[in-house]
Symmetry: C2
Subunit: 146 residues, 2 copies
Amino acid sequence: MPHSTSAPRLGDLERVVMERLWEADQGEGATVREVFESLEKDREIAYTTVMTVLDRLAKKDLVTREREGRAWRYFPADTREALTAQTMRRTLDDMEVTDRRAALLHFLDGASSQEIADIKAALAEVEARVEAAEASPRGLRGRLRR
Amino acid sequence: MPHSTSAPRLGDLERVVMERLWEADQGEGATVREVFESLEKDREIAYTTVMTVLDRLAKKDLVTREREGRAWRYFPADTREALTAQTMRRTLDDMEVTDRRAALLHFLDGASSQEIADIKAALAEVEARVEAAEASPRGLRGRLRR
DNA sequence: TAGTTTGTACTACGTCACGTCGTACTACAC
DNA sequence: GTGTAGTACGACGTGACGTAGTACAAACTA
């Protein structure tokens, strides 16, 4: 049996390309040429290489694309933060950790105090959403599993 | 330049082998033969395949090994939870997320209420440690960065 | 002591993911 | 109609992994 890991992983260049898309002003996306020109400033690279990468990214559903004249305009399918979170969650799931509390504890153990604060803030935010969802019979964002 | 992602990734079989090591009664580790016999019950596999995998795992420092007669006894270098946490952290670092709060928020968004509880528990635990560290001039576990 | 077993070390092969392009072909602008 | 974007498709090299064979040494056994 071949090698297969559940969800889409990002290669180094793929990640760099995603960077450029994320950096492209506010959801405007970018064409191959635009990404190419951006990359070319930092390193030597062929136009077609960028094209291929963007293409693979699209196949992995990490980016979307829309026709723009003869060319395609690419958009990140998710924000950097959402993708990061997904990847982290996938790790947690794949590892089949039974003691999640311990795993999370280890995670926090390597966290900066700033990060701890961020987590607390995020936690408070989620709780607020849960309360809101409980208040209105069918709130619009109460997606808590189980 | 070749393909290179910072830290060690786990392949499918590698993960399965790690499972067996983690399951081997309380830090007793396991020999190639033991892992092999364990795996053989579930699927057909060659003794040498297991050996190779264990060997690669050792090269990646994911397992340790000690001589035991003519054979080697392998031990997981980290607990499943610690490794999971490391991998999650690496993801967070690699993605160069600037808005960690948002990323964490997305992460929590996909969490079960049980998991939320786990996080809270872990958070409380870390805070308790910080306080303890502040109380005694040089506590034994106050590793908070920044 | 010669044969069998157990274990390691080393080598190797197939496949897939990725980085990296080249080529062929098409639509549009002069 | 001759460049100039652009795309579509195919291809090659390398590294990671799954998979395992072979060679050879140590240890047990008849």
